[in-house]
Symmetry: C2
Subunit: 154 residues, 2 copies
Amino acid sequence: MSGRLQAELRQSKPFSSLEQETHLNLVRTCEHLEQGIEETLKPSGLSPSQYNVLRILRGAGEQGLACGEVAERMVTRDPDVTRLLDRLEQRGFISRTRENRDRRVITVRVTGEGLNLLRDLEQPMADIHRRQLGHLGEKKLEMLIQLLEEARAD
Amino acid sequence: MSGRLQAELRQSKPFSSLEQETHLNLVRTCEHLEQGIEETLKPSGLSPSQYNVLRILRGAGEQGLACGEVAERMVTRDPDVTRLLDRLEQRGFISRTRENRDRRVITVRVTGEGLNLLRDLEQPMADIHRRQLGHLGEKKLEMLIQLLEEARAD
DNA sequence: TGATATTAATCGAAGCAACGATATTTGACA
DNA sequence: TGTCAAATATCGTTGCTTCGATTAATATCA
């Protein structure tokens, strides 16, 4: 068994299976990375989910997206996108307009202010990603990606 | 670039760097695994953190652990362990006793009821781990563990 | 000793998340 | 057409998280 996680957990026989050890390593790594992301976003008062939504909307461009489409594209699934959007709208980063074509759907768009915020975050976010994972090098990153995609394919 | 995550995100140019792609793959995979864990734990009304605490305490045995030590050993860091323990104590899965040696610390122990709960969860948890990651096989799991540990070492 | 700092755990308040239930609008079809 | 089902987004409630402040006990050291 690998020693690093064992040391972190301070137990002598922490794992009952290789699958479990992998799981714990994944969760730990994720936690570690998310912590860095949160710190980078904290000055602008955005949560990772909110940042994710703004980027999704920037990707969608002028035509915007329906609420449900935003929910589908989020990295982590949010059971109540409405209130997430509420907070972004209150701060002026997105706008909502009800469609006349189908009055059930509400189209969401990122505002100019939202785009400015994203622009300001671009460099810091690139930096933190690099700092956190850059030391692995291209080859290992690709291996890791490959393994993770395979892990999700069940 | 790998195709799977790109399809999930439904964007044509989602990544500005390999590090970012790795990060997103990690978060997605974690999310996916945690979802399975949550479903397995739901019948007993435990959150992953609560389950984690019970296992930590079982590992510590009769002598128990101080609150702070529990917090240190958790997989995901919780800024307020007190209330997490409150809920477990209310349900009878743990007990708390103030130490006379140093009256600042409170020792936490898992109760018999807590141990029973853990025993009942053992098989379902082993099953879900196997179902989620077993298809990778021993070799790839070890590779993944190795890469994840390396990723955290920055 | 007495004053200050440190450590351990808890609590108050505010905001957030999760789960269902509820409008509102549209579609399907007898 | 009228009725029922489906889709879309929102809201109500309850419980959980988080942040900082607070209490209490111990350690430090002039």
